[in-house]
Symmetry: C2
Subunit: 158 residues, 2 copies
Amino acid sequence: MEVRLLSQTTEYALRATICLAYRQEGLVSTSDLATMTKVPMNYLAKVLQLLARSNIVTGRRGVGGGYKLTRAAEEISMLDVINAIDPIHRIKTCPLGLDNHSGTLCPLHRKLDESIEMLINQFSGITMADMIGELGDIRPLCDEDMTTQVELTMSGKK
Amino acid sequence: MEVRLLSQTTEYALRATICLAYRQEGLVSTSDLATMTKVPMNYLAKVLQLLARSNIVTGRRGVGGGYKLTRAAEEISMLDVINAIDPIHRIKTCPLGLDNHSGTLCPLHRKLDESIEMLINQFSGITMADMIGELGDIRPLCDEDMTTQVELTMSGKK
DNA sequence: GAGCAAGCGGACCTCCATGTCTAGATTAAT
DNA sequence: ATTAATCTAGACATGGAGGTCCGCTTGCTC
């Protein structure tokens, strides 16, 4: 198969969180988020619940309900989102379960652990705020028309 | 679940290749490799076939048969092994399939692509030779007694 | 307070990575 | 030539990630 750095579900979670970061205030419904992120709606609902349990987003029920971030986009790192879905762990003990009480990993797992450490450092330094409009042009999710899309969705409802 | 940098199968492939690198010449049978790497034998057989198809190892059948590397350990990188099992791909186009002919990824996928690039660079610079006895003490796969284990296996058969 | 929009939660389905099993092909040794 | 060891190849089993569906709960709006 094909190596994916992140699981599909984690990708979905990141997309959704970025969309919510883009919409600074107000609630966004699951169905709107599903449209914008191109994630199957019923599945996205589950992903959002995971994010809610990790206190990254909060939902409100009822008419006009939806989700929003629990804190500022600057305060939410990629690592936060990743760990909410499927956490990254350093390699602490030998995966073969051999006697290595000394805590010294073999070269293979040492190198792998270094790579994981690198990724964690990388991801913990990137916030949701970095994901929206780093260029002059704002395009949160690849789509040049994200801005108008969001606005259309808003006006379509109001 | 839990994020794993590499798939289980890729881990297995690396372990096996490292064991073969350690045994500089001569053939090692699948069953010996399975014991040393702690990989289910029948599954390891499949993994070795994948490595053989990618020309990283060659097998010889019959009594006294087994596997060996096709070239020196210094000539086989981690990336070679990884790509033989499940290749790492850079992100070239938007995973959402949106109009981005310009070739410019959104911040999210740009960051992810950078991480992947980092990993590829890392992995392509590490060879199987780096995996055996980087420390004074030789311990290819976490096990301090790897050396004696291999020798035992050899003498046990001869 | 009735009705409806939306999140919540669980049951269920599907596919693929991982793993098992078995029969066949090849080679060395006797 | 026969036998035993070993790789090769494919069919089959299993568990978990990804995805669907439906009924329940909450809380607007009128």
